[in-house]
Symmetry: C2
Subunit: 191 residues, 2 copies
């Protein structure tokens, strides 16, 4: 590994937000999955969760622009297991959904340990997910269409989280363990 690449990866790892994640509930279109992972990488998410009630979609390498190498995706066949995992890490569960009980996405505190749950392209989030949520959040819609593309909704919320965490100085406080840092430098260091 070149010294430049070594430095670049270390710098990236210093900024990783281990207490911020995304849970995708049956999001199944490749280009959406890939775009979410790419945005997650860009704002410092280190690991994500994907729940598959049916088949497993294979991530397309090209659209994710290599980000799948840098953001771990853990797969589940049950929503409960994914939620149990993020709760065990002390995260609040934010479920994205346009409903009367939903608060504006800018009124959420993303500097707390947070998992953001996104729903399926057609069906949206499940009743089960809504029931387990700490908060329902929505992005305001001022036009005729009822919802945004799922990767777009993810990005709008993740960049609000990035803004808040930047302001709170969280990108200046490395969270990653030395063990995890070495694992990644070892596994991913090769170009």
């Amino acid at each position: 590994m070149s010294p430049e690449r070594f430095a670049r990866i270390n710098e990236l790892l210093d900024k990783r937000q281990l207490d911020l994640t995304v849970v995708m509930e049956n999001v199944h279109k490749n280009h959406n999955l890939s775009a979410v992972i790419r945005t997650a990488d860009a704002i410092g998410v280190h690991a994500m969760h994907a729940v598959w009630q049916s088949r497993k979609t294979k991530l397309s390498r090209s659209t994710a622009s290599g980000s799948h190498k840098w953001v771990g995706v853990q797969h589940y066949s049950e929503l409960e297991s994914a939620v149990a995992n993020v709760r065990q890490q002390g995260m609040q569960l934010i479920v994205t959904h346009l409903s009367d009980s939903a608060v504006d996405f800018r009124d959420v505190d993303y500097t707390k340990p947070t998992a953001i749950l996104l729903g399926q392209e057609k069906q949206g989030v499940s009743e089960q997910a809504l029931a387990m949520a700490d908060q329902h959040v929505m992005i305001p819609m001022l036009g005729m269409v009822q919802s945004l593309n799922v990767s777009v909704a993810a990005a709008v919320i993740l960049y609000e989280a990035q803004r808040q965490r930047e302001q709170a100085g969280l990108y200046g406080m490395p969270q990653i363990s030395e063990q995890e840092r070495y694992r990644i430098l070892f596994e991913r260091g090769h170009p």
Copy 2:
């Protein structure tokens, strides 16, 4: 047309931001084009511009979720013509590009009449577009990947514009002409 639909369309038209638009330079993937139009509708863009150096892509109806019916897209074969059009409307030209001269997207004043130019999926924006820009803007990238999906980048910037315009009270000041209002109610009022 039902009274509810009539009221809904009128309300939407009251919020349309005629002095905010998007220019897509050779963005060619259907799902990206459609996602951009959908987001544009959601934040009140009324008309957009698409430059095609080669073929014309047909917009897929399903992914745009009907938003193509509500956001007009004007097509051009030359970038100059699109830029001339937005300049004639007194708009600043913001070109999205990661470069040393680019400012953070949150440091731009989107309450001014503004056109946001987005580049092609692989090539990005053209040299020509960069040369014509009033400002180059970029969205911070803290991970390993170099760029966001184009519809994601569009959404992050458009929702920042929405935030600023909401704060400035611009959604409470209808801009649309009575003529345009009647045209749309007449053409689009049928379910």
